[in-house]
Amino acid sequence: MHDVNWEPRIVAFFCNWCTYTAADLAGVSRLKYAPNVRIVRLMCSGRVDPQFILAALAGDADGVLIGGCHIGDCHYVEGNLKTLRRFQMLKRMLAEFGIEDQRVRLEWISASEGDKVRSVINEMVEQLRPLGPLALRQQFKDWDREIADGDPVSATPAAAMHETEAAHA
Amino acid sequence: MEHSPRQIMALVRADFKDEVLRSRSIWLCASCYACTVECPREIRITDIMYALKQRAILEGIYPKRFPIPILAKEFFKMVHSKGRITETLLVMRLFLKANWRAVLSSWRQGIGLIRTGRFVLRHERIEHRAQLAAMLDSDVRHEPGSASKEAA
């Protein structure tokens, strides 16, 4: 069982035009939500490279939240459609890793939906609590030890991820 | 009606508990739900009235011989023991407890009911009375009006 003081940590990638602005609006409206999210601003959710998500998870984030404009409302016409397609592929891959579905989430939040920022973040934090820490870093260590001990079977996908992490650490 | 529904809401909000529970207004609600579908703030007034009635019965705050809570209680008892309601018997019971003189004043109506074959004197009852009683008894009492509060 994990540490009782453990709090889920979420890295969020928000597009500049809709979701980041919505988060600003949540602030201006003084809505209160869980302090577990760290927002990284990008111009468009289309900029979210799957590697960012992997790097966040490998860096011991417990969840990743991506926020973009509603379909049809993208500031760059259809960047969010590209995000959606990429996201669906990534989800399949993460499932292969054994990473729970709730840990990576994509939400369309328009500039006026400050309240949705609040509810999505609160909901996600609550969904991550029962899952406990992802602790990929520790897992990598364990897997490394297994490789050292000569058991390569369980290490294959994670090793690829580890490289990614190492490259950007 | 001493307080309009709007005034009842305002009194509840301002925490005038006694005034609200002693008000005849909450008993005057006949549950037609007109206010509920009408309210521009989508307040479920009828359900709140129910919650207030439950509270008043629970705390025993209502006028003596006031017929509505008596009807509610008699209704409750009859269902508990028979499973069904026999309206004519229920009304007689109510009149006896609340105001026996009323029985005299509505004798014409009683005769009318007998004449039209609607005066039922035999208790309607269900077969599995014990089952129903067990179901009702399985319910431990909790705060009245909890459902309407949540839903509101």
């Binding site: - | 009606m1 008993w27 005057l28 006949a30 549950s31 037609c32 739900y33 007109a34 579908v37 479920r44 009828t46 129910y50 919650a51 009635k53 439950q54 019965i57 017929p67 509505i68 009807l71 509610a72 209680k73 209704f75 409750f76 269902v79 499973g83 069904r84 309601i85 026999t86 309206e87 004519t88 009304v91 109510l94 609340a98 109506q109 009318g112 009911l113 039209t116 074959g117 609607r118 039922v120 309607e124 269900i126 077969e127 599995h128 089952q131 129903l132 067990a134 179901m135 009702l136 399985s138 319910d139 431990v140 909790h142 009245p144 009006g145 909890s146 459902a147 309407s148 949540e150 839903a151």
Partner: protein, 290 residues
């Protein structure tokens, strides 16, 4: 078409005539109503005032019994039953606390309820499942010239108005017109009849009843058609008291199913019309078939 049928206490007592007219009319239209075995009181409005969760337990036993029959829908003619059964469905969905109490009670009795079965009113069944065209075909004695004030009362249309508008319902208007009757505009069609207040606080309750009767008379109606046993009782049984207090407002109030029965050519004696305090004038004899 086959439906589970919950008559409710009133239809076995003061509202006998409702059942007496409903069943043959439905039969004439090929609708089979199968009465629930050992149903209990729905709880009505009175029970809600005492204990909400117990009221829901009462209703849930009936809902569970209905589901056990495997029927598609549960039909109930009484407005209070219709409301309480639907309300219980909603509460079970929205309130975890009620859900828990009800589940415990159902477990006690070894019953199950999924919450899926719709609870519907005969008016809904007649107009939306059977259809006005089918009904029109069965009319042998059109109610031509009969001016009817359609009175819906409260609890079928509010707050769970699933098949009609909460303020200005028209289902019964259309049905009555199909029978050949002349439907008079009746703005009070969803106003409260006083409910149980006519008995408990007559000063308040009877005034509401009086207003309904007076306006129907003012509109030139011959008869008020109703869909609820309590409404029928209130509008029918207090003419003496009302006349003493405000003057006479002589107009009969009958169930819409009674008017259907008349239009279908069913004998008046079998439709419970003789149970009224204020009797409806007999219709002209059935015209000879051309």
């Amino acid at each position: 078409m086959k439906y589970a049928y919950f008559p409710g206490c009133s239809l076995k007592g003061l509202g006998k005539a409702y059942e007496e007219s409903l069943l043959p009319v439905m039969e004439r239209l090929g609708v089979e109503l199968v009465e629930l075995d050992d149903w209990n009181c729905c709880g009505a409005t009175a029970y809600m005032s005492v204990d909400e969760s117990k009221a829901c337990i009462l209703a849930s036993r009936n809902l569970a019994l209905a589901e056990k029959t495997g029927s598609r829908d549960l039909v109930t003619p009484c407005s209070a039953c219709y409301l309480v059964l639907n309300k219980t469905k909603h509460y079970l969905k929205d309130s975890p606390e009620i859900r828990e109490s009800v589940q415990r009670a159902l477990d006690t009795a070894g019953l199950q309820y999924s919450g899926a079965m719709p609870v519907r009113h005969p008016l809904d069944i007649l107009v939306n499942d059977v259809g006005l065209d089918v009904i029109r075909e069965k009319v042998v004695r059109p109610l031509t010239g009969l001016k009817v004030a359609p009175y819906y009362g409260c609890q079928v249309v509010r707050p769970y108005a699933t098949f009609d508008d909460a303020w200005n319902p028209t289902t019964m208007d259309r049905l009555l017109a199909t029978l050949g009757a002349e439907v008079v505009p009746y703005p009070l069609k969803t106003k409260c009849c006083g409910g149980s207040l006519t008995g408990t606080l007559p000063d308040t309750g009877l005034r509401l009843t009086y207003i309904l009767l007076k306006e129907a008379v003012r509109r030139g109606a011959d008869v008020i058609a109703t869909i609820c046993p309590l409404c029928q009782f209130n509008l029918d049984a207090y003419h003496d008291q009302i006349a003493r207090q405000w003057g006479p407002v002589p107009i009969p109030t009958v169930y819409f199913t009674q008017l259907m029965g008349l239009a279908f050519g069913l004998p008046e004696s079998q439709l419970g019309l003789n149970r009224n305090f204020v009797r409806m004038k007999p219709l002209p004899a059935i015209p000879a078939k051309a």
